[in-house]
């Protein structure tokens, strides 16, 4: 990194931040950190939840004024915070949460708040034509008249990127863009990043998936606990080194493989010929202590299948039974009673009530008719202790927690009723390495205590904890892998490229 730092950043740094410090109350969010992003590169920013990545993004996009330090773009100091238009010409950010208006057309979203194209009065015809040509320039295959709400996540992101570039920004921040995409869509996004990079666009890429960093970025910067740890070319940074930089501990991701887990022949969960939304005739049996992985693309029906087991969806045919007794379909309370616990697909949408406390969220499924606040609080404290939640106390609202800790609360709730079957859908989505270790450790420990678990995930790390992995494609199970599968083989099966 010395080679470009010495140049001083006059003409080859797309963006630079130096000596940035930012406090929120008593929390130090950024402690004298810096970042230098060379023009034309894809620069990865990684770190655990709470490392300061999002605060840096808000400083780099002018949403927050740092308490100390400076930001510059192409060697020029950043505009004043009030001048939003100037910021938007320098930098654009595609957030995890969408910043488009769902009920307006693609064309209007592209030119939002400049619909008149400088003319004073809106010409819809002209707007549509401009939008078409913009979409064509960036090769985005959506119709300018479609409502944004009808687009897929992938298309929506592309619209947001096109909008950013049309404003004149040549520096784009992608904040966990792959979190909601499936495999092929991620590949297409990366192809697009590479081709835009060839045209001189610079990216700051934030992701929890280290593999992606190796795939698409040239330089990586690691933050930890609000401090800058290292910036280095990706090629010179091995994965264990990178994880060490992120966690401050040597040894890489420590996911229990669980191959020494005792096996059993007692069948706990039996699903026979289950059909429902987007899947049909799927059978599955899980024994005590068995962890079954369920992989497949977003359209494979694996989420729907898992949600049907937990009663979030109604099956159209087939039966589910736990410990030999049948469970009424499409009825969550019945599933809970039968001993099925679930970590739902999306913690914000289905997992948590953000304004309520940790204790209340953790006990939501299992509370008795009477809720004594003291009992609830102590159950909350137990959950905090057992699942390693970093929190001030059981009364803290879950909205204050980082993603990984929120997910631990969801996990605590799934386990609160001591279920015999666990259905875990994307259990480690959007959580950092440490939380991932901790969450997968819980899965392993619960299996050792005799629970059966189904882990629905695309992440290979999640699937490594499983005794076997079933791959779904277009609504049915197409392959089964036992322990010791090779990454390439599994990925090929997920993408439907299996040789069989």
């Amino acid at each position: 990194m010395t080679d470009f730092a010495s140049v001083g950043g006059a003409d080859n740094l797309a963006a630079a931040a130096r000596g940035v410090t930012k406090r929120f109350g008593r929390t130090l969010a950024l402690d004298d950190v810096g970042i230098e992003i060379r023009a034309g590169e894809s620069h990865a920013l990684v770190g655990r939840n709470g490392a300061g990545k999002s605060t840096l993004v808000s400083v780099l996009t002018g949403m927050q004024l740092p308490d100390a330090g400076e930001v510059s773009f192409f060697g020029e100091p950043a505009p004043s915070v009030a001048d939003r238009a100037a910021w938007r010409r320098h930098v654009a950010c595609v957030y995890q949460k969408s910043t488009v208006v769902p009920e307006l057309s693609v064309a209007e979203n592209l030119f939002i708040n400049r619909q008149d194209l400088g003319g004073g009065m809106i010409s819809w015809k002209k707007l549509r034509a401009e939008a078409s040509s913009l979409l064509e320039t960036y090769d985005v295959a959506v119709h300018p008249d479609s409502l944004v709400s009808t687009l897929t996540v992938e298309q929506r992101q592309l619209v947001e990127i096109a909008r950013a570039l049309s404003i004149g920004s040549r520096f784009v921040i992608l904040d966990e863009p792959t979190a909601q995409l499936d495999g092929p869509a991620i590949e297409r996004l990366f192809d697009r990043m590479r081709s835009l990079q060839d045209k001189g666009v610079t990216f700051l890429f934030i992701s929890h998936h280290l593999q992606e960093v190796y795939e698409v970025c040239q330089t990586v910067t690691v933050y930890r606990d609000a401090r800058h740890i290292v910036t280095a070319p990706v090629a010179e940074m091995s994965k264990p080194d990178l994880i060490e930089a992120m966690t401050g501990e040597a040894g890489g991701l420590n996911v229990p493989s669980g191959d020494d887990r005792p096996s059993s022949t007692d069948e706990v969960l039996a699903v026979s010929s289950l059909s429902g939304d987007h899947f049909s005739d799927v059978s599955l049996a899980a024994t005590r202590g068995e962890v079954i992985g369920l992989a497949g693309s977003a359209s494979s029906g694996k989420h729907e299948f898992a949600e049907t087991i937990y009663g979030l969806r109604k099956p159209s045919a087939g039966t589910i039974s736990v410990n030999g007794s049948a469970v009424r379909g499409g009825d969550v309370p019945a599933a809970l009673k039968a001993g099925i616990g679930c970590v739902p697909r999306d913690r914000h949408h289905q997992g948590l009530v953000l304004d309520l406390s940790i204790a209340e969220n953790a006990t939501m499924s299992t509370a008795h008719a009477f809720v004594w606040p003291s009992a609830q609080r102590s159950a909350g404290s137990t959950a905090i202790a057992s699942y390693d939640v970093k929190a001030a106390g059981p009364d803290q609202p879950v909205s204050d927690l980082s993603g990984g800790n929120q997910q631990k609360v969801v996990m605590a709730r799934a386990l609160a009723g001591d279920p015999s079957v666990l259905v875990l859908i994307n259990p480690t989505a959007g959580v950092d390495v440490k939380s991932k270790e901790s969450l997968l450790g819980v899965v392993d420990a619960q299996a050792r205590r005799g629970k059966a678990a189904i882990v629905v995930s695309d992440e290979l790390d999640d699937l490594r904890v499983c005794d076997r992995v079933l791959v779904m494609f277009h609504g049915s199970v197409v392959r089964e892998f036992s322990r010791g599968w090779r990454d390439q083989e599994l990925i090929a099966a997920i993408e439907g490229m299996s040789s069989e």
């Binding site: 109350g25 008593r26 929390t27 420590n254 229990p256 669980g258 937990y310 979030l312 969550v332 309370p333 599933a335 809970l336 679930c342 739902p344 949408h349 289905q350 997992g351 948590l352 009530v353 953000l354 304004d355 309520l356 209340e360 939501m364 499924s365 509370a367 008795h368 008719a369 009477f370 809720v371 004594w372 606040p373 905090i384 202790a385 057992s386 699942y387 390693d388 939640v389 970093k390 929190a391 001030a392 106390g393 009364d395 803290q396 609202p397 204050d400 709730r413 270790e437 901790s438 969450l439 997968l440 450790g441 819980v442 392993d444 420990a445």
Partner: protein
Amino acid sequence: MTKAMTPPVSAPTPPGKQKFQFARYQDLALVPVIILLLIIGAILSPIFLTPGNLIAVLTQQSELSLLVLGQAMILIVGKMDLSLESTVGLAPALAVALIIPSASGGLDVGLAAWLALPLCLLIGVVIGGLNGFLILKVGLSGFMVTLGMLTMLRGLQLAITEGKSLIDVPESFLYLGSTTWLGLPAAVWICVLCYAVGIFVLKYLRAGRSLYAIGGNSEAARAAGIRVDRVVWTVLIIGSVLAVVAGILMTGRLGSVAATQGEGMIFQVFAAAVIGGISLQGGKGTLFGALSGVLMLGLVEQILRLQGVSGFYIKASYGAVIILALIVTRFATGQKQE
């Protein structure tokens, strides 16, 4: 892999704790304002702090407070019910009309007089149940359904009574509207009881806590095993029944069912709920807060009345007072009202 199961080493961080303790007492944010109003009232008028005056305030607010109780629960669960105010009029009117002869303005059905109370409550159940059916099962907009119901029920009452007041009111209504128990009007006792039960249920019962979960994130509530539709439906029915109880007390207190009974109350209901810290977005607020909102409005109204503000101005000033109260609350609680 025992690592994940070991107790946490991180000590509780003070900032979170501090924030929580503030939130814990947010419920009581209006108490100082109420005390301040009592002091102002006492300074402005010598009779303000007399038991008679304070009981009058409570009695006047008792009917409103029941509506606020129902509406607050409906708001917490993430819905709203505009039809409460016409339920206040229609339920007693219909029940009375089914009992009294046509000579007194009735429908000549001639049901027994003792049926008046159960019939009234049943009408409440039917209205709330119908609202719930249209919103939850048919999937209509709650705002529009209850707005339609508001107009329809009011119209129905006018049609049944031909726009006249019903003065032949059953004994049971008159008793509840006028009697005192242990020195306080029955209406006040009924309110106290309803609020006590409501506050207890929303704090200590799983069913009550589920209101907050549903209002905060109904998908998450469903995934947690809460029967969302059933709870919302029940809350809508309870809201309507509370409106009916308010209607019965009002009928008993005034000795008749006016064709306009309850008209215009819904505005005060929302005002009191929001002043009391209930979020219109659902999932936030407490019934104690809502009750303090009602009391605050009642005290302000009484202060104006004792100051001899003319009846013509009292209505105009009332709207202004509500806006003022919202502003005061905004800064007393330090929270934006959505």
